[in-house]
Subunit: 216 residues, 2 copies
């Protein structure tokens, strides 16, 4: 592998890791902001989504540059194009953190999440955090076992999502329609965040094993 | 441009147009199935999503092959990589049609959508159909004006989405939590379908004008 190409891949890798860290911070702060009705934390998540979008564009530019200048083939080509997919998934994870933050802002200063759902959203936030952390680690040290752990965390997210809906749609729900609609959409944002983390992880497994990826 | 490369681009273009037609049919059938509680139509949408996923993989394989064999640069390179983004957006449009169909199946044989919301969902289905049609046309004959019409249709979808939420959250909503949660998630699926159509359209404008795209 030419030294220049290796340097390009390292730079793309660094950008991807910085995106993984940024989307991890974004969802963690968005969850805190949501559950504590912290307006300035929510606004900071919204403001910083532009930085994530900018990093996405840097990855895209770098990928175009590498394809044009180095004309990689086979595994090298796959690696470069996968970076685009991975960055695309993380760009979307940033958007979903932004949506969580904005949902909190819309009801501010009233709390968006009723007290009995704070626990399940806290857990969804924790699983999201674990997923983003695994993702930044699998980017740093690709490992099919670690990527499989992303799938397990995604199962945890799905279980929390079912638990959330059981609470919303159960006979004991006392809060009426609006908090239920907010909670259902919030649940969807966390679930999609997890799906994108898993997709990005699978792209990395694809690089290691050559097994193709079906997006979810 | 070499004849072989031109033939590759034509084949990619044909695959993209067939995806646009497939996701148009999928959402149109999913809307009908939802609003008429038609189980077999809904099941057919779900079953045919695999075909859309397969076409996505064909595009991806073809893109890898073209990048490796032809090593395109500049505008040619941009065109080939954009095909991946466009196919990715349409793969997701197929998933969202699948979600609409499954939402209907979950409540079958009971209707999922209360009578007073049938009109707004019918209109969302019509706007989705217009978007997918514009998309297949802009793929066949790229034109920045036509892509701008995608933005206008997306504005219509956003207005319908607001109208839907006003009905769900208004004082006169008599149906309780479960139909409201279903309707809110369905609204989100249509809105995202429109966003992906617009993203795909913008990728095509990017090919024409060189203006970069921020995903939405």
């Amino acid at each position: 592998m030419r030294a220049e190409f290796r340097a390009d891949l390292l730079e793309i890798g660094r950008l991807l890791v910085s995106m993984a860290e940024a989307v991890r911070t974004a969802m963690s702060q968005a969850t805190d902001a949501l559950l504590t009705a912290d307006r300035s934390a929510a606004e900071s998540v919204v403001a910083r989504d532009d930085e994530i979008d900018n990093t996405y564009r840097l990855v895209e530019e770098k990928v175009y540059e590498v394809l044009a200048r180095q004309a990689p083939v086979a595994g090298d080509l796959r690696m470069v194009v996968s970076a685009l997919h991975i960055a695309g998934d993380m760009e979307r994870m940033g958007d979903l953190a932004d949506h969580v933050a904005r949902t909190g802002l819309r009801r501010h200063p009233a709390p968006t999440v009723p007290q009995e759902l704070v626990g399940v959203f806290r857990q969804m936030g924790n699983v999201a955090d674990r997923l983003a952390l695994e993702l930044s680690q699998v980017l740093t040290a690709p490992d099919a076992g670690r990527a499989a752990r992303l799938d397990h965390a995604d199962d945890d997210m799905d279980a929390l999502h079912r638990q959330l809906f059981a609470a919303l749609l159960g006979p004991g729900w006392p809060h009426g329609v609006e908090p239920a609609v907010d909670a259902a959409l919030l649940g969807r944002y966390y679930e999609r965040y997890a799906d994108h983390a898993v997709n990005a992880g699978r792209q990395i497994v694809y690089l290691i094993t050559g097994e193709p990826v079906t997006p979810q």
